[in-house]
Symmetry: C2
Subunit: 198 residues, 2 copies
């Protein structure tokens, strides 16, 4: 077998991207070399730089270029609150609500036994150690409200409670602006059970 | 404005890939850094190497790492035939049929005035020069049978004939194995007009 050409190597490498099959990998390789060499050079540099520089925050586990991320270094944060999210995007969504001023722990995933994702893959030990620093008073679970997110929240909740930590979960209910007619029955049922005095 | 982090730079660069929007660029960046750092390093190398090494064949215009591609260097080829295709993939498809032993010219595109793709973008001058080498006796047009491919074939055909070159086009007709009931009327009409004596 003769060695792969640079073009074939590029197409092969592009298949490592999630959601990119052989056909679109080849289309991407052709496109970049034919129409956007500057972009191709940019991608080469960006991947090399990212691999070299990006690590995980020693405290909250998110992506960062320093041992501690900016959020963890922010002295204005309420260190008694620790919000657990699945991904950096989820953290960003919560930040945008301006309703939370505590710190975070980013799992970088969710429990998914069928896909072979267990407690170790979502850095449970690191989270337990982080939450047991003697300063954290409440762990706020903000994993997604999917089956896997709920299972992850449940697992973390049990683990934390076993260590005497206070745990809370974001409220479920009818979305703001939601018309009951168009909201699914499960959501309405949950909203009914979780109804609050006004 | 503070400079983009390595992660943001990677997501930005990934948006240069065709068909990748901001959401999937971010998802790709997260995925590669979280789950496939080896793949990320591979992509960095592959892009850099491709940009550095891949050029266009001076004769047929396809991608190659040398001044002349392997096909053009193959002395066994019939140099009187020059087949014009849109992309390297199209050339590969024709090669796989084992019905053609001539040489190629790869346009690396098709005429598409609406997208601003004119004769210069498909290297028409290079093709005219190539076909006028005194050896080429027939130009075989194998652009796609789409509107743009047909327009491209027509344009090249006129240009070549004006220079006294013989031009042919792949036959259109009912696909092998095609049942008339399921073939579109336009194809049947064309097959009727192009019918051959048996
Ligand atoms: Zn952090
Ligand atoms: Zn060539």
């Amino acid at each position: 077998m003769k060695p792969l050409s640079s073009l074939e190597q590029l197409a092969e490498a592009l298949r490592r991207l999630p959601g990119v099959g052989p056909k679109s990998a080849q289309r991407m390789a052709y496109h970049m070399l034919q129409h956007d060499r500057e972009g191709a050079a940019m991608l080469g540099r960006a991947f090399n730089q990212a691999v070299e520089k990006i690590q995980h925050c020693t405290s909250c586990n998110t992506f960062t270029e320093n041992p501690l991320c900016e959020t963890c270094m922010d002295g204005e944060r309420d260190a008694t609150l620790l919000c657990v999210v699945e991904t950096p995007s989820d953290q960003l969504m919560i930040e945008q609500t301006l309703t939370y001023k505590g710190l975070y722990f980013v799992l970088m995933g969710r429990l998914s036994p069928l896909d072979g994702v267990g407690p170790k893959d979502i850095h449970l030990e690191k989270l337990v150690k982080r939450a047991s620093d003697g300063v954290v008073a409440e762990v706020v679970l903000a994993t997604n409200f999917t089956n896997e997110g709920e299972a992850t929240a449940h697992y973390i909740s049990e683990t934390m409670k076993a260590r005497g930590l206070k745990v809370s979960r974001l409220a479920r209910g009818v979305p703001v602006g939601g018309e009951l007619e168009y909201v699914d029955a499960g959501t309405i049922a949950r909203a009914m059970l979780d109804r609050r005095a006004t």
